[in-house]
């Protein structure tokens, strides 16, 4: 016998991101307070304002909580195997360079099991945007230690705390050849959106690390509060330093987080380098694929 407390408005304006999502798959699997959804919101807004033809956009994820992103986007989307989103995306991109290919996955996925692919795709400068959500943990499997877990943080497989040095991902991406490198937290929604938009407009291997809370496994076990507490921590402890030397942006447990756009440079992409090289070496004998030819025409 409930009494209505307020009048439900007819015709609530639809959520502007809905048309980009597979609403028939809602509700999603993410925990309350998890930042993954927030980043998806930023991604969709960036995509919306990017002017890209959405039919030509493909999202590739690996496995993990973040790896589920591909499945919620109303785009051509692939949920691949653990760690292998980047090589899948490489094949997809080279088969059809007209596509805009985005890899969206977790820290464990992209830098532990998939670390080898990450460094090689950056070295080759394969034209793709990699969005990596760093929650410092393996979320999906229950909070095990990751290559990104800060020293002393507790994880289910580091019950006394982690003593392994963690990766400084922007430094790694830059040294391997990424043309665009930025880091934000999921508190910085406007910066994240802007950064994704910039990365999408960039030719080559662009990389955005988004520091993101896992309240269920990381924060709870480390007794650092819930999702909201992590947002407050991000707000109070991050320092925007655009152009910072990536060597200096490593992260400690609950320490300062240097955020910003660190790298924005030009290098020939894998497919354009291939085209140019073969044109020079083989001349008339070089026959590029039809898609490759089209994509170069589109560029000119």
């Amino acid at each position: 016998m409930s009494e209505e407390l307020f009048e439900v408005e007819e015709g609530i304006p639809p959520n502007p991101v809905e048309e980009f999502l597979r609403m028939d798959r809602m509700p999603h699997i993410w925990c309350p307070g998890c930042g993954i959804g927030t980043t998806v919101n930023c991604f969709v807004r960036a995509l919306d304002s990017s002017g890209l033809d959405l039919d030509k956009v493909a999202v590739v994820s690996g496995i993990g909580c973040t790896g589920r992103v591909a499945g919620y986007l109303r785009l051509d989307s692939f949920h691949t195997t653990h760690g292998r989103a980047i090589p899948f995306a490489t094949g997809l991109k080279l088969a059809n360079p007209e596509l805009k290919v985005i890899v969206y996955s977790g820290d464990g996925d992209l830098t532990a099991i998939g670390g080898n692919h990450f460094i090689h795709a950056a070295r080759r400068n394969v034209d793709m945007t990699v969005i990596l959500l760093n929650n410092g943990i393996y979320g999906m499997t229950g909070g095990q230690v990751a290559p990104t877990t800060p020293i002393s943080a507790i994880a289910s497989t580091a019950p006394y705390g982690n003593f392994e040095e963690n990766f400084n991902l922007p430094y790694m991406a830059e040294s391997c050849g990424a043309v665009y490198v930025a880091r934000w937290t999921s508190f910085h929604v406007r910066h994240v959106t802007k950064s994704i938009k910039e990365a999408l407009a960039k030719k080559g291997f662009s990389f955005i690390e988004i520091v993101n809370p896992c309240p269920t496994l990381y924060s709870r076990r480390n007794k650092i509060g819930d999702g909201l507490d992590q947002m407050i921590y991000y707000r109070d402890n991050s320092e925007i330093r655009n152009g910072a030397d990536t060597k200096t942006v490593g992260m400690d447990f609950q320490g300062k987080i240097v955020v910003g756009k660190f790298v924005d440079r030009e290098r020939p992409t894998y497919d354009s380098a291939m085209m140019k090289y073969y044109q020079k070496k083989l001349g008339e004998d070089f026959v590029p694929s039809e898609e490759m030819r089209n994509s170069i025409h589109a560029e000119n």
Partner: protein, 386 residues
């Protein structure tokens, strides 16, 4: 549909099986190859690397076999026909992605030029030790197709067939070569492009809103679309419904996995190819595949000369296994002799299908070289005594 003439080097050639395999792939319309060097398969990708820039193909040497075996699948969804090439250690690394191809029904070709294992084994010497791995190597239940060439000519012909079967049934197809066939140089005739039959990808062409990526056709195979055409599909290695969406129910799992297995079963008779020589009225049938079929011939001829009724059944398709034919023969003959460069992989299948009606005699070999015909000959003799 027939082959695109740009890739077809019509005429006689004197090349090895690895090179013939590359030419077969090109003739079949393969335009994406990702690989990682490993003896004795490397010549396949070397030739591809040389030929591809001239025929509109993209070759990439990836950082490892794990990457290679998934890059090809990205390329397939991007619209290409694609393959990867390896040998034992690399084949072991590819297993997860054979399962991914089976689960997502991504048509692609895996070439395994077998060498002696386990582990690094004998890198430059032949074996047939990966036959069961090809069938069962990835976790879970699924079906694949595997072909076994016994000459450079067949490396060419069967690579084309492998691509055609992959497209027809949307499965990973394994070309199970071996070092001997891969490095053997023989005459290979490449036909005119218009005489090479090509199975094109089975694309869906109905209204976009109605596209369901995993709704099967009558032969249990669903139709594909290309990325970038506005279908906005979702593809996952998770158990999925016909829409392609993850679905964790026992029913969905049962329905999907049953179809993945059944699509090969119901089409098995159309897929299976074998060659028979004097099996009618035989007392003993030598069952071979790949290089062992050639070492068996002198043994069979010798035994026939001595009046024994020996038939020869050579498997061209190893998986799916010709269960029916073997059961049929088992009822008419006394024994099977199965020479293999392993310690009994296909022989066990023969035994299973023979169901006790004919005896099965394995001629085992650890690999490193091929059988001596006399080993096979003695097995033929012995099999008739028991």
């Amino acid at each position: 549909m027939h082959a695109d003439p740009i890739g077809v080097l019509t005429g006689p050639h004197f090349i090895d099986g690895d090179h013939a395999c590359s030419e077969g792939a090109i003739a079949a319309g393969c335009r994406f190859v990702a690989g990682y060097p490993i003896t004795p398969s490397t010549e396949v990708v070397e030739r591809i690397a040389e030929r591809f820039p001239r025929v509109g193909g993209v070759f990439i040497q990836m950082e490892d076999e794990i990457a290679s075996s998934i890059a090809i699948q990205g390329a397939v969804w991007g619209g290409k026909k694609a393959m990867t090439v390896t040998s034992g250690p690399g084949f072991s690394l590819m297993m997860e992605h054979i399962g991914y191809a089976a689960m997502t029904e991504t048509p692609c070709v895996f070439v395994d030029v077998q060498r002696a294992g386990p582990s690094t084994g004998l890198p430059t010497m032949p074996a047939q030790g990966d036959m069961m791995q090809a069938r069962w190597g990835s976790h879970g239940d699924y079906g694949i197709i595997a072909l076994s060439p016994n000459s450079p000519q067949e490396c060419f012909d069967l690579t084309i067939k492998a691509f055609n079967l992959a497209e027809q049934y949307r499965v990973p197809v394994m070309m199970m070569m071996d070092e001997c066939v891969g490095h053997m140089i023989e005459r290979v005739i490449i036909p005119a492009a218009e005489d090479i039959k090509i199975v094109p990808r089975r694309f869906y062409e109905g209204p976009k809103e109605e596209y369901r990526p995993y709704e099967p056709e009558r032969d249990l195979v669903p139709l594909m679309v290309k990325v970038g055409k506005g279908y906005r599909m979702h593809i996952t290695g998770l158990t999925h419904d016909e829409q392609g969406y993850p679905n964790m129910s026992v029913n969905t799992q049962g329905k999907l996995v049953r179809r993945l297995v059944d699509k090969l079963k119901v089409n098995a008779e159309r897929i299976i190819e074998f060659k028979e020589d004097k099996v009618e009225g035989a007392d003993v049938v030598v069952l071979t595949y790949g290089i062992s079929s050639r070492t068996a011939i002198p043994a069979i001829e010798q035994a026939r000369k001595e009046g024994l009724k020996v038939g020869h059944l050579r498997l061209v398709t190893v998986w799916p296994f010709p269960e029916r034919r073997i059961a049929e023969l088992a009822g008419c003959i006394k024994s099977f002799v199965v020479p293999e460069l392993n310690f009994g992989q296909i022989a066990l299948e023969v035994e299973r299908c023979a169901g006790g009606k004919a005896s099965v005699h394995l001629v085992p070999h650890a690999g490193g070289t091929v059988h001596q015909p006399k080993e096979i000959y003695s097995a033929i003799r012995k099999s008739l005594k028991g």
